[in-house]
Point group: C2
Chain length 216, copies 2
């Protein structure tokens, strides 16, 4: 575990290792080798070993990695061993679909609030386990009260920057941005972007539509 020279790609792969390890666990595998883990993710065994070794010595020569142990270690590294409260901002089609997604809590992310600025969508019923939709005016107070760390931004592109500004001012610590814009945020502020069109374009390119654009 070299102190502070961990390649960003290695950190991205860490999440994939975790996901694959959980799949192996579900299949009742107790141990897994770097070769097997790599095969499932289309990576080399050396890559897997090096990535994991950045963070510690988790393997056992001759055996491989113990699935259960490694899951716990990787979660600790990612900081998802402890639950983290999140919110959704923007209750349009996508926001509401994500609100209904039950997969967050399994991964340690607890959805505790949803915000929108449309008065017709507000619904502060504290009933059942349905999460109420609150007005944007309550953002700062709620972020503070419920200790919300991350927010998923699901507003239209036109509103995204302004809403992001509000979120940061309200004390949100990281943004998962679904709006198709590059957000301007303070230096080092954590943002991850998911842009459907960008992903489709990457596929389009690989379709061989990748004309090398006969120049001039």
């Amino acid at each position: 575990m070299k102190s502070e020279n961990i390649p960003a790609p290695a950190i991205r792969r860490l999440s994939l290792y975790l996901r694959q390890l959980e799949a192996f666990r579900k299949a009742d595998r107790r141990t897994v080798s770097s070769k097997q883990l790599g095969e499932a993710l289309k990576l080399t065994d050396a890559q897997v070993r090096k990535d994991l070794a950045y963070f510690g010595q988790f393997g056992h020569p001759g055996i491989g990695y113990r699935v259960e142990d490694l899951i716990n270690q990787v979660k600790k590294i990612l900081g998802t061993d402890k639950p983290c409260n999140i919110s959704i901002v923007g209750a349009g089609h996508l926001g509401q679909a994500l609100t209904g997604y039950r997969g967050f809590s399994k991964k340690g992310f607890q959805l505790v609030a949803v915000f929108d600025n449309d008065p017709n969508k507000i619904n502060t019923s504290e009933s059942a386990d349905a999460i109420p939709i609150q007005p944007m005016t309550e953002l700062a107070e709620t972020v503070d009260r419920l200790e919300i760390r991350l927010a998923i931004l699901c507003v239209p592109a036109e509103a995204a920057q302004q809403v992001a500004d509000e979120m940061i001012k309200a004390g949100i610590r990281g943004i998962l941005n679904f709006a198709p814009v590059s957000l301007a945020v303070p230096d080092g502020f954590p943002v991850a972007g998911v842009d459907l069109a960008v992903q489709l374009e990457q596929l389009s390119f690989r379709l061989g539509g990748g004309t090398t654009a006969e120049a001039i």
Copy 2:
């Protein structure tokens, strides 16, 4: 434009350039320099120039890049200058939310079919501009008839691999996978993955939750 040594990261950034260029165009900018484009995306000017130069000579010394022209060139490179038919497979919360998303067509992707295997969701009304939900049994025939190239996979994790197999057999040429699993696909088959939990984990890590996992 070196024939075939284009870095994958450069290709990923191409989509971001396009998105940013369209934002500049909306703001009535006619030209943009590599410095300005880079600033908006937190990249260096050299990076922007080198990326674009892989594909041709699009810039004008002393001037920069003409926004409109560069948009057209980048679209051509990505293959999105011509429309591409896409479909959504899995009409759950997320699939239906994406079905309602109007942003695809602006980017050259035409959503022409939605599939699900739940008989209660099927709805073959050829009415209005609402896209009917077809049964999975019609997949191959429809892919062929409507010349569908790409599919967005929105089924639960447990079903994802099997449905992906069906899609590939039906002639789909690339998959945008929203299921939280690594799909096994033929070598070189284009897959892009969007896993919400993975993105949240990356943010979690950057929150400083990144315990360096004090080993042993």
